[in-house]
Amino acid sequence: MGCTRKKHDLFWKVQMKTGARHLHEPGLFSRVLQIDFVSLRRVPRGSRQHYRGCDWIGVVKRTTGSTQMKAWPDFNECGDLPQGVHLATLEDVFRRFAGTPRRAVTARRLERIYRLALSTGHLGRFIVFGSFVTTKIEPNDVDIFLLMDDSFDVRQVSPEASLVFDHAAAQNLLGASVFWIRRAAALGGEEATISHWQLKRDGGKRGIVEVFGHD
């Protein structure tokens, strides 16, 4: 399932290598775009891996045409997304996974947690895994893994946002199972750490979702 956006209607984050004339964010846009920048900044050296080796990151507001979001892949015979980390906006997650009243409730919880994590100003990557991103009709809750910037200090966040980072409080008060670490603690590197959350009980792997749309 994908969505087509007309020009001017949204701000997009894009990445580029130095000297590129056109920008292409693999997995997010289906084709090369010509855009106007709202802002442009250099990716810190330590964050290059996160931005897939790109040198610059920019926010854009205009394209020369419509932008086709990456379509969601089909679920496999086990009801899972194919292996991999699937980039999606929160809106796309709602479209794909909030199809029943129970799931809609869970999706609203997810959105609240995303907003709270974002409010800290130190959210690195927001990963959704577990039964919510499968075809299971009534998942118990939503499982989330947060990779926070190294400058994140849990003592500095608001009381409400602090619930996200306390596993038991998040479970009891936000309806989610939340795990988090700072980037520096990623075992085997950022990608390996995130990839681990694909592991299933039987040793197989299933796809997980990275919510995209923040710096």
Binding site: R155, A168, W180
Partner: protein
């Protein structure tokens, strides 16, 4: 719930991975409160998986095969 010996092994490997991750946080985290809260979630998951292993190992294979589906 763990259903067979293969899932038992996978769960044991997951526990080992989580323990290594917590040890890594312990090495890199300079902020005590960050450490406690970050590690807390992973330690809770280790506890949950250990309980699953205990429940599985408590029963004899003959009991499991005789249990109603």
């Amino acid at each position: 719930m763990i259903k067979n010996d293969h899932e038992l092994e996978v769960t044991q490997e997951r526990i080992l991975h989580f323990e290594r991750q917590v040890a890594q946080i312990r090495r890199t985290e300079t902020n005590t409160e960050n450490y406690r809260i970050s590690a807390g979630g992973l330690l809770a998951e280790i506890d949950r998986m250990n309980l699953e292993i205990r429940d599985y190992l408590w029963s004899h294979p003959a009991e499991r095969s005789a249990a109603p589906v």
